[in-house]
């Protein structure tokens, strides 16, 4: 059991732990949910968890590059969500289904 001091002194470790937990939730969503859109949300969750650790590190080291990185990650994530949802919509229009299993029809 960590000491009271460690528990109360909220620091990098705590943020990283939180980030890890949220990341794992995102990962479970990606791995286990059937709905494509929820999977995409899982990806967003993972990216956000990583962002949190970036910001925590930036605060820890006093280096603003972490912020820039988060900025870029957000941009990429937004672009990814845009394309992912556009694909999901296109597939929904075809199969009326967003279950990931239906994406197997896209083979070959």
């Amino acid at each position: 059991m960590p000491s009271t001091e460690t528990i109360l002194n909220v620091g990098l470790t705590h943020y990283l732990a939180l980030s890890a937990v949220i990341f794992s939730f995102g990962m479970i969503a990606v791995l286990m949910r059937k709905n494509v859109i929820v999977m995409l949300m899982g990806v967003e969750l993972m990216l956000n968890a990583v962002n949190l650790s970036f910001i925590a590190f930036a605060k820890e080291s006093g280096n603003l590059s972490g912020h820039i990185m988060v900025f870029f990650v957000m941009t990429i994530a937004a672009a990814e969500a845009g394309v992912g949802l556009a694909l999901a919509v296109a597939i929904y229009k075809k199969f009326h289904e967003v279950n990931i299993r239906f994406f197997e029809h896209l083979r070959g």
Binding site: T75, A78, A79, A81, G82, L85, A86, V89, K93
Partner: protein, 123 residues
Amino acid sequence: MSQLLPVLLLSLFVILFGSALLFLASRIGAKGKPNSVKEETYECGIPAETSGPTKIPIKFYLTAILFILFDIEIIFMYPWALTYGDFISGGYGIYIFSAMAFFIAVFIFGLFWEVKSKALEWE
């Protein structure tokens, strides 16, 4: 933490106020008997055939997706606008201007393309 406290407080007020009103209204308000006709989805008096919309114009997603992309480009201009004066007084005015000029050129190109491809056209 203390900095965010007012924000939380205010949100809490709003939520409490809203819930209280809803609760009050449900207590004070007239009591009607629920019946199937009343609970029918409103459709100007005729029986509703479907509840939600069935055919959705693709335009809405497209608008939303394009909004995200352009929104980010605009967000990128905020720090630029903020530091523009500093760059100019530091003697890097032309640098910072051309840095953003390229970005805006890409932006304009994108906008132009979207207009030209009729992606932004509504009926």
